[in-house]
Amino acid sequence: MNGSSKYAPLIPVAVVYAALFLVGRYTPGFWQLMATLLFYCALGQAFNIFLGLTGYVDFGYVAFLGIGTYGMALCVSRLADHPGLGWGVIALGFLLALVMATLLSMAVGAVALRLRGAYFAIATVGVNEGFRFLIEGLRIWNGSEGIIFTAQLNQVLGRDAASAVSTYWADVMVLVIAVAAAVVTLLYMRSRIGYALVALREDEDAAKVMGINVTKYKIIAFITSACFAGLIGASSWALKTPYVFPPEVFEIHYTIEAIIIVLLGGAGTLLGPIVGGLIYGISKYYLAVIIPGFQLLIFAPIIIVIIVVFPEGVVGMLKKKTRHTALGRYII
């Protein structure tokens, strides 16, 4: 494989994201829908780094989005009184979100990633709830009252800039995160990390016997995935709607959405989360009009059908069909 074709799969990724951005930017009234689609693509892309590459399910994934939201909220609300920092506060907010997501994922991973398969899933089922109740129980960061920082955001950036951040720049940031997550996914797939994880996914015991430090690579994928989730939380949740309430940001609903997106598109593929995110986002958008509040009633059976009938997802199927053809090197 030469250097240029190694990165060929990034071309369709770039095309889709550029198209989403341009349609949203230049078609009046479409920005909101495009922003939602970008959020779902980014969520899938981030979740895929762990679920797709390792084959482990983290049912508490939303906790990392939640902690990222808290990172931004804490930074803006505590640093609002320091004039002159301006946009620096936002940058620090992203940094704090990253640090907090890393720390939480290291803490959870240190315990849960020692466990295999089903035991891992059991350990993660309560992470989001457990963390939410820790915040509420010990009244950390205002406890169950949450943090509202609309005024502080206005104070830091000025009213016009703050409103531009909420309606536009936060979504652009989500786009940047989604692209970055896609690039990292490809880099991992094409490196020692990816090969080790394939071995792990196929047969964990055999991989261990071959001398692969499976725990190390699982932890790398876990922390990377959590970091992207933290950044998504910081931009798509904290900056778009400047408040954070524990029951909302630790809602398991978002983990469910991430699972649907990754499986629909194809777990462990680069393009899967984008295809899954688009299908899920668009159908959810229109289902919300047709049968408001019951989208999951449609999607739950869809996941079951996907797993039973075509577990490889849309992109997984395309990948098989296009193997050894000219298209093949773009679709992974």
Partner: protein
């Protein structure tokens, strides 16, 4: 004063713990026989709770009538899910069964929400109270406790004294060996899955005696987490381990609530919920085979 309160709450905890234990037996039974973790466990408990609510409010019958009804509905749901989905995934990677059982739970929640709506409901079954001095126990809770113990005992005899139970134990011991001896493994799987779900749905009826206004399509999530803690306490594969795990968990939950309430500036209810999660991680880390198991 505090000691009396603690003792009173521990009695309540023991009574609730028996029901918790019974509510977890189905989870352990299914994992023990099929090696499948039912991540949608709580949703089946929720279905049982709605059956109790519906029998009481719509039919005007006592929750005792709801018990056999819930068992039949549960067994039917179990068979339906087993033959339509689970059966096809026995050879699939663990990821598949985890996601499928999880989706089943979500599906049940949404169906119940479609029928009953998502507001919190409850019913009041006036049967009088027993005053123990330290605490007051309604007869409904006592009945749930005794009923749970009776069901646990019935399951014990069924597994150990009947032909079907023997077949089940043989599959647990050695899947291939059982098959060679003429046991229809697929049928044992179907039966165990159906029995596990039936027990879980039935436990939902008993749990309504403890939650006067807490019946809601999304009530199951908390019970899934509790059931995991209890199942892991009991070693995850043994239904009886689960029952005793439930008793221990009930005591810890109520005891810790009383103690957390003494600390100023915290919310004891939320901390109790956090404690159950922390317990889960600690037990999984130090003894994934269970605390209560002999070896």
């Amino acid at each position: 004063m505090v000691l009396e309160q603690l003792l009173g709450n521990l009695i309540q905890g023991l009574v609730l713990g028996a029901v918790y234990g019974m509510a977890t037996m189905g989870l352990s039974l299914i994992f023990g026989v099929l090696r499948i973790v039912n991540v949608g466990h709580g949703a089946f408990i929720m279905v049982g709770a709605f059956i109790a609510l519906w029998t009481f409010n719509a039919l005007g019958l006592s929750p005792i009538v709801a018990l056999p009804l819930a068992f039949v509905v549960g067994a039917a749901l179990g068979l339906l899910f087993y033959y339509s989905v689970i059966q096809r995934l026995l050879q699939a990677p663990e990821l598949a069964t985890l996601l499928v059982t999880f989706s089943m739970g979500v599906l049940l929640q949404e169906v119940v929400k479609l029928i009953f709506g998502s507001e919190f409901r409850g019913y009041n079954w006036p049967v009088g109270k027993l005053d123990l001095g330290l605490t007051v126990l309604p007869y409904s809770k006592l009945l749930a406790c005794v009923g749970s113990a009776a069901i646990a005992l019935l399951l014990y005899f069924w597994v150990n004294r009947t032909r079907a139970g023997t077949a089940m134990r043989s599959v647990v011991d050695d899947r291939v060996g059982a098959q060679v001896c003429g046991v229809n493994v697929n049928r044992v799987f179907a039966m165990s899955f159906a029995l596990g779900i039936a027990l879980t749905v039935t436990s939902g009826v008993l749990l309504t005696m403890f939650i006067p206004v807490g019946i809601n399509p999304y009530m199951g999530g908390g019970y899934t987490l509790k059931a995991f803690v209890i199942a892991v306490l009991g070693g995850l594969t043994s239904p009886y381990g689960a029952f005793f795990g439930g008793l221990v968990f009930g005591l810890i939950e109520n005891g810790s609530y009383t103690l957390f309430a003494l600390i100023p500036g915290v919310e004891p209810f939320a901390l109790t919920r956090f404690l159950s999660f922390a317990m889960l991680l600690v037990i999984l880390l130090i003894r994934p085979t269970g605390i209560l198991k002999a070896k």
